[in-house]
Structure formats: structure tokens, C-alpha cells
């Protein structure tokens, strides 16, 4: 299957792994081998079964069928006890979960040492551990302050702690689930450099990603899952973008092209907005977005995008400055801004976008339950709600058992479609789209892009907040950069190039650009 050097012994071998969740076949007879010192990218649509497979490997899940084997010291293979993270850790498997598994009330070093010493030992001297960690940090380049509480560390630093956790336990295999979903381009680049040097030391690495560019550049080998089956396992140099997309989705995808739209009046106008302090502050932000255009806001997450989105959404009152929608100043309340024709695609769709316990239909009308269309005298109009759900499910191709399915069970892409349906169908004047494709596979991403272009064509003003430069350059008419709470003047996309924007995101040149 793989053309890795046959004489080299596999460090890990998955054979015939099958896992069902109820009727759903999440993994189907998957065979995968991993060799020392290689980096394998695991690719697949949302819900293809990537995380499931890795969770089986790490002992969070037990496979219904199949075995996991790990190399022994003499080069042979032995079966790994399933369902036991402890056994996996002992066998040298480390995992960095998509959602970090750190105790935020402890320091970095205490997180790393968790579970490495007997719980009955009376005292926890950290001296020898610290010496070892210093050495590991020096060799891998993963430096971080070990004595800071994790809650005070940035996302990138937390990820380094996660990797150090594995290295401290002498991991032979390191699994990273969507490690770059939360990282800036620079951080991602650093991460892959580190991973490469670790691989050169003999560590085997599996990482999951939806970002084609990094998959192609950072991996030695690419495995593709589709609907729970392993459909390809190829050396990276044999792959290209289009081919992988085809394998993943099972059909051919064409990136959305931008059409010319006539620019309308300024529909969203921010003037001199300042608020907050620390990482989440804004300083004198002024920005205009016109009808029929997409303004991209580039920036490393945590530079004030959150505050900006909250203010535009009406969730927060700025300390100073004002906001106008279509020439009207508004009361800062979500309902008020929505009434003026502003809609939002929130950054964290699970936390802010949907109510997971409620049904798809209910989530589709949640912004409008108070409107005449769905209620009279305070009583819900179920017929209208059901009809709305049916229409939206058809129009947006939301893959779910029906309007009364619980929203929590949908995949990220379909959850995003619910949000698109309920926001964009209102023919909004202004769209605030925060990280609208984060964590989505390419199929779902294309969908989101197409819908945003449609809104733009209808004359909506769209503010696209994203960390993904590819996305920004593909979508935006103009691009502004946010850094440390300051926003640069948007410039025509055609006049910019990536490295320029990348540097501005890192804080350079931002002064003279403004």
C-alpha cells in the first residue's frame, strides 16, 4: 500500500479498524502503518472519521473490530491494549487534541508532569523534570515559560505545552488533530519546522488538517479518509491540490471566482472606536464597508477581532466612537443591529452560533422567533417554523435527518449552513463573517464562499474577519489588517501581496501603512 522503505520496520500498525456509532460507520476496515521519522498527513472531509481513528489509536475509543500494534524494542510488533490512554502513553503514543487537554488552573510544568509520577508520592520535586524539559525545549525549539498558569498562555504556547507533554514521555508517535486550526500563519510555519526537526530525530508524526497547502508542504505521506474508509495513502510528492480535493470529496471542485459587482454606499461605518484593555482592546478604529464589497480583515487571532465583532454585533458598548449602519446610529443590542439589517456569522459556531440541544428548525428561526412570521400573541406558529426549516434545508443543502433533528449532532459544515441560511436569507445589508470557514473541509468551505459572494452580488456589505490569507486574497475586494487593536486603512487587494500582509499581521509596517 505504501511505498515506504520496506526494510524499515513500522513503529505502529493499524489493521482492519472498524468503528460504528449506532448506525453510522465512522471507520471502516482501515489499515495504516507508520514508520519512524515520517510525517503523515491525514486528510478528509468533516466527519470522514479522522478524529475517531486517532481516538482509537490513543485509547479514547475502543474499535469494534481491528487491532492496533506497536513496535517493541526488538523490532517486532505487539498488540496495544485498547481503550486505555495510559497504555497508549506507555507505548510511546502522544496526542495533541484539537481541543487542548490542559488543566488551566495549573502551570505548564504541572500539566506536563501530571500522571508521570505516582499519585502516592508525598512530595513533588520538579528539579530533575525541569532539567530534562529544559533540554527538550532547547533541542526542539519549543520554548515556553513553564511556570505560568496555562490560563495565561496564548493558544500557540498552550500547543507547545501539549507537544512537550508528549515529548517528555518519550513519545515515538505524535498525533496532532488539526493543530493549525487555531494558529497564525507564522505560528503554523514554526510548528511545522519543529515537527520536521523532531521527525528527523526519529519521531513519527500524524497530523490532521483541512489546509491543503500545509498538507502538501509539510508531510511525507498523505492518507485520505472518505466516509470512514481509507481511500488513498500516497507519498506527498505525488499529490497535488486538485487531485486531493477530488479524492476527498469524490467529485471535482472548482474554486469560486469573483465577479464584478458595483460598489454601493457605505453601509457599515465605524468611527474612532476604542474599548477594552490588554489583548482584547481596540484603539481608535475607523472602517467603512460599502454595499457590494467584501472587506477582509487580516490579523492574528487575539488582536482585537473579538472585541470588534462584539461591538459590531451589538453585544458590547465601545468606550468611545460610534457605529452606523446605513447611516443610522444604533442602540448597542443584538436585536437592534439585526433589525437594521446586520447579520453575523460568529467565530465559534458551536458556542455562539447554535443551540446544540435544540432542533435544526428551532436554530433556523432563533433570530426571528419574535417576528410576526413565526408567532402570534406570543404563541409559536409551528407550521410556519416547519416550513421555514424545510425550505432552508433544501435551499442550503443542510445534511440532516430533518428539521426536528438535534443540531448538536450535525457536522461543523452543516452547522455552518444553518447559520448561513438563517442569516443570509434575510437579504442583509451588512454581513459580519468571523472565521467563517475555520475547521471546515474544502467542500464546506466552497459552499460558504459561494454564499458570501451571492450576498455581495445582492449588494450587501461584508466584513470578513479571517486568519487565512488564502481565503482573504480570494474573497476580499479590499484588505485591512488588525494588530494590537489598531486597524489599518483597507487597501485594494490587487495592490497587496501575501508577505506584505503577513508582515503587517506580525506588527511590522503597520504604522506607515495606517
Amino acid at each position: 500500500m505504501s511505498d515506504a522503505p520496506a526494510e524499515q520496520a513500522a513503529v505502529l500498525k493499524l489493521t482492519g479498524i472498524t468503528k460504528r456509532f449506532g448506525a453510522l460507520l465512522a471507520n471502516h476496515a482501515i489499515n495504516l502503518e507508520l514508520y519512524p521519522g515520517e510525517i503523515v498527513a491525514l486528510l478528509g472531509e468533516n466527519g470522514a472519521g479522522k478524529t475517531t481513528l486517532m481516538n482509537i489509536l490513543f485509547g479514547h475509543y475502543v474499535a469494534d473490530e481491528g487491532t492496533v500494534q506497536i513496535a517493541t524494542a526488538d523490532g517486532g510488533l505487539r498488540p496495544l491494549a485498547q481503550g486505555s490512554p495510559q497504555a497508549a502513553l506507555k507505548a510511546g503514543i502522544g496526542m495533541v487534541h484539537q481541543h487542548f487537554t490542559l488543566a488551566e488552573n495549573l502551570t505548564g510544568i504541572d500539566n506536563i508532569l501530571l500522571g508521570t509520577r505516582s499519585l502516592l508520592s508525598p512530595i513533588a520535586s520538579k528539579r530533575s523534570a525541569r532539567t530534562r524539559l529544559d533540554k527538550i525545549m532547547r533541542e526542539s525549539g519549543l520554548t515556553v515559560d513553564l511556570d505560568t498558569r496555562v490560563s495565561r498562555l496564548s493558544v500557540g504556547e498552550q500547543q507547545r505545552i501539549e507537544i512537550l507533554k508528549a515529548l517528555y514521555r518519550d513519545a515515538r508517535v505524535l498525533v496532532l488533530d488539526e493543530p493549525t486550526a487555531v494558529l497564525t500563519p507564522q505560528e503554523s510555519e514554526n510548528l511545522f519546522q519543529t515537527l520536521r526537526s523532531l521527525a528527523d530525530e526519529g519521531l513519527s508524526i500524524v497530523f490532521i488538517s483541512h489546509k491543503m497547502a500545509e498538507v502538501l508542504s509539510a508531510s511525507d505521506r498523505i492518507a485520505v479518509l472518505r466516509h470512514g474508509e481509507l481511500v488513498a495513502d500516497l507519498p506527498s510528492e505525488l499529490c497535488d491540490r486538485n487531485m486531493l480535493a477530488d479524492i476527498m470529496v469524490g467529485r471535482h471542485l472548482e474554486p469560486e471566482a469573483r465577479s464584478e459587482v458595483e460598489k454601493g454606499p457605505a453601509l457599515l461605518k465605524l468611527s474612532g472606536i476604542s474599548t477594552g484593555h490588554g489583548r482584547d482592546a481596540l484603539h481608535n478604529v475607523s472602517l467603512q464597508v460599502h454595499g457590494g464589497e467584501i472587506v477582509g480583515l487580516a490579523g492574528v487571532s487575539g488582536n482585537g477581532q473579538g472585541a470588534l465583532a462584539r461591538i459590531i454585533s451589538g453585544l458590547e458598548l465601545p468606550r468611545s466612537g460610534s457605529m452606523e449602519i446605513d447611516g443610522r446610529r444604533l442602540k448597542p443590542a443584538p436585536r437592534a443591529v439585526m433589525r437594521e439589517g446586520l447579520v453575523r456569522i460568529p467565530e465559534d459556531r458551536h458556542r455562539d452560533g447554535i443551540v446544540g440541544e435544540m432542533t435544526v428548525a428551532e436554530n433556523l428561526v432563533i433570530e426571528d422567533v419574535r417576528s410576526r412570521a413565526f408567532q402570534s400573541f406570543g404563541f409559536l406558529d409551528f407550521a410556519a417554523i416547519d416550513k421555514r426549516a424545510g425550505d432552508a434545508i433544501d435551499a442550503y443543502d443542510i445534511r440532516c435527518p430533518g428539521g426536528d433533528a438535534v443540531a448538536r449532532l450535525l457536522s461543523g459544515g452543516n452547522i455552518q449552513k444553518i447559520i448561513l441560511a438563517r442569516t443570509l436569507d434575510k437579504e442583509p445589508k451588512v454581513v459580519l463573517a468571523a472565521q467563517p470557514t475555520r475547521g471546515l473541509d474544502i467542500g464546506a468551505t466552497e459552499d460558504v464562499h459561494r454564499r458570501l459572494f451571492e450576498a455581495r452580488a445582492r449588494g450587501a456589505a461584508i466584513l470578513l474577519i479571517s486568519e487565512d490569507l488564502d481565503e482573504l486574497f480570494q474573497m476580499s475586494d479590499r484588505i485591512a489588517v488588525i494588530h494590537r487593536g489598531k486597524v489599518t486603512l483597507p487597501q485594494e487587494t490587487a495592490t497587496l501581496n501575501r508577505s506584505q500582509v503577513g508582515l503587517m499581521m506580525a506588527g511590522q509596517e503597520s504604522e506607515d501603512a495606517a
Partner: protein, 313 residues
């Protein structure tokens, strides 16, 4: 003026410490449970069960320390019940806790009455006696306030130090704090969420039960219905007051004891010129106030009340 007289009287502080002792056990127990992420509203019933079981053991002939051990074991058993319901089963912690309180209380009463159907005055035991320490007990103020307490009080004070040390200095303590903050972190490091939480709840409940045993084996020498009288609930409040820290928990318990002792004394001193209830309310109101102030910055266990299922987010 009288107020000052009360406060400088070492006997007042002795009373405050005595009243605080069961609360110290209870608040430490609740704190351990909550640090691991499990709210234990079974505390009120576990207090009762501890009071009953410890006393009963001694009444049946066991020595006092065996009685304490029996109380702890019974408390641990109810803790196990609560832990099983809330940790692997993921049942709502409030409801399970209230269920355990109902169960433990009614079981204790029923067992007591079934074992002693015909008593017409409460059977008594010889309780713990004040631990007189040569030299120390004769010290001016401190001697009276502190060194005329029973051994259980000293055990409580020692436990404050022990729990603080374990939580802040040992691998076990780190694991308990971690599991109360993010169980997934513990599981990913190969530790058992189940084991840690169940263990913490059992140990915490055992401490609560010793607090109950203090009532029947030290503060008094017999078991009474309704004896616990809300002391367990107070501990739940004190944990919050203490922002989940053992040292502050001690402080909170002492404060509460002081208010109670003060209230009794003030009534004796000057007659009931203010309804005594006002003073009894104060600790509760103070706890609410502390909660409001603490709520902003307290690093309370983030996973508190949240059941954890393996492999589920």
C-alpha cells in the same frame, strides 16, 4: 463596651473554635469534592449519618477512635453512592446530592429508632475529653481558647494543613485540581477521571462524616434527631466563601463559629435587644457577599457540576 468584653474573653474564642470544628471537617470535605469537580449536597445527610454511626459504634462498645473510623467509613460509603451516581452515571449533582441527604438522614433515623425503640431519654456515651497539654493549657489566653479543645479539634486543624499541603504540593493534589478543571486533561495523561473523582468524593464525604461525629462524640454525648440542623449546608457556603482554599476555609469556619458564639453571648449579656436571628443571618449574608466579590476572580473548579463521559465532548 460589652461587645469588646466578649471579644477579649478567651472562653468566647474557645466557643468559636468548638462551634467551628464540625464545620472545618465539613468544609474541607466539601472542598475536596468540589476541587475534583463534584458538588456534594449529600453533606447534610452525611453529617447526620456520621453523627449517628460514630455514636452508635461507641455506644455498642467501641472505643472513641474506632467510632470516628466507623463514622468515616459510613460517610465514605454514602460518598461512594453519590460518586457512582454522579461520576460514571453523570446524574445531576444537585439532585443526587439532595437524594443522598434524604437517604442518609432517613436511614440514620430509621436505624437509630429501630435499634433503640424504647428509649425515653437519649442514651449517652463518654465523649472525647478536652486535651489538656501540660504547659500549653495554662498559657494565658491561648491556653483557654485553644488548648482545652478535644482531640478532634486538633485533628481538624491538622487536616487543614494536610489538605492544603496535598492540594498544593503533591502529585495527587495536582491531579485532583486538574480533574476539577478539565477532566480531559487528566484522561489524556493516562490518569483515571473516574478514580480520582470517586476517590475525592469518598475521602471528602468521610471527612464530612467525622464532622458529624464531632457533634455526638465531642460537642455532645448523645445522638438526637435534627441534630445537624443545617450545619452541612453552611459548609457548602463556606467553600465558596473560601474560594476553594483550605486556609480560607478554616478562616470562614472560625468566622462562622465566632458569629454564633457571639450571638449567644450577646443575648446573655444585654438581653435580646436585637433579635438573635439577625446575628445568625449575618454569616449567610456575609457568604453571599463574599461570593459576589469572589465570583469575579475566584478560580473555581471549571468542571464543577459538569459530568464527564469518556469520549464525549
Amino acid at each position: 463596651m460589652e461587645i469588646l468584653d466578649i471579644l477579649v474573653n478567651p472562653n468566647f474564642w474557645a466557643a468559636a473554635i468548638r462551634i467551628a470544628t464540625p464545620l472545618i471537617f465539613g468544609v474541607l470535605g466539601a472542598l475536596i469534592c468540589e476541587r475534583s469537580g463534584v458538588l456534594n449536597l449529600g453533606i447534610e445527610g452525611i453529617f447526620t449519618a456520621g453523627a449517628m454511626a460514630g455514636w452508635m459504634a461507641v455506644w455498642l462498645g467501641a472505643d472513641l477512635w474506632t467510632g470516628v473510623a466507623v463514622a468515616a467509613a459510613v460517610g465514605g460509603a454514602f460518598g461512594l453512592l453519590h460518586a457512582v451516581l454522579t461520576v460514571p452515571f453523570g446524574l445531576s449533582q444537585h439532585v443526587s446530592g439532595i437524594g443522598v441527604t434524604l437517604f442518609a438522614t432517613s436511614l440514620s433515623y430509621f436505624a437509630y429508632r429501630t435499634a433503640l425503640p424504647d428509649v425515653s431519654s437519649p442514651p449517652r456515651i463518654t465523649p472525647f475529653q478536652p486535651l489538656k497539654i501540660e504547659g500549653l493549657s495554662d498559657l494565658p489566653f491561648i491556653g483557654t481558647a485553644l488548648f482545652q479543645q478535644t482531640p478532634l479539634t486538633f485533628l481538624a486543624l491538622f487536616l487543614v494543613l494536610a489538605v492544603a499541603f496535598i492540594l498544593n504540593r503533591t502529585p495527587l493534589g495536582f491531579a485532583i485540581r486538574a480533574v476539577g478543571d478539565n477532566p480531559a486533561a487528566v484522561e489524556a495523561q493516562g490518569l483515571s477521571v473516574f478514580g480520582l473523582r470517586v476517590g475525592a468524593v469518598i475521602v471528602g464525604s468521610a471527612l464530612m462524616a467525622i464532622g458529624g461525629a464531632f457533634l455526638t462524640m465531642s460537642a455532645f454525648d448523645a445522638f438526637f434527631f435534627g441534630m445537624v440542623n443545617g450545619r452541612g449546608w453552611i459548609c457548602i457556603a463556606l467553600v465558596v466563601f473560601a474560594s476553594w482554599r483550605p486556609g480560607k476555609a478554616l478562616l470562614g469556619a472560625l468566622l462562622f463559629g465566632a458569629f454564633d458564639a457571639f450571638q449567644v453571648r450577646l443575648q446573655t449579656e444585654v438581653g435580646a435587644f436585637v433579635p438573635g436571628q439577625i446575628f445568625l443571618m449575618l454569616p449567610y449574608l456575609l457568604s453571599i457577599f463574599a461570593l459576589v466579590v469572589a465570583a469575579r476572580k475566584a478560580d473555581y473548579p471549571r468542571a464543577l457540576l459538569k459530568p464527564y463521559f469518556k469520549g464525549q465532548r
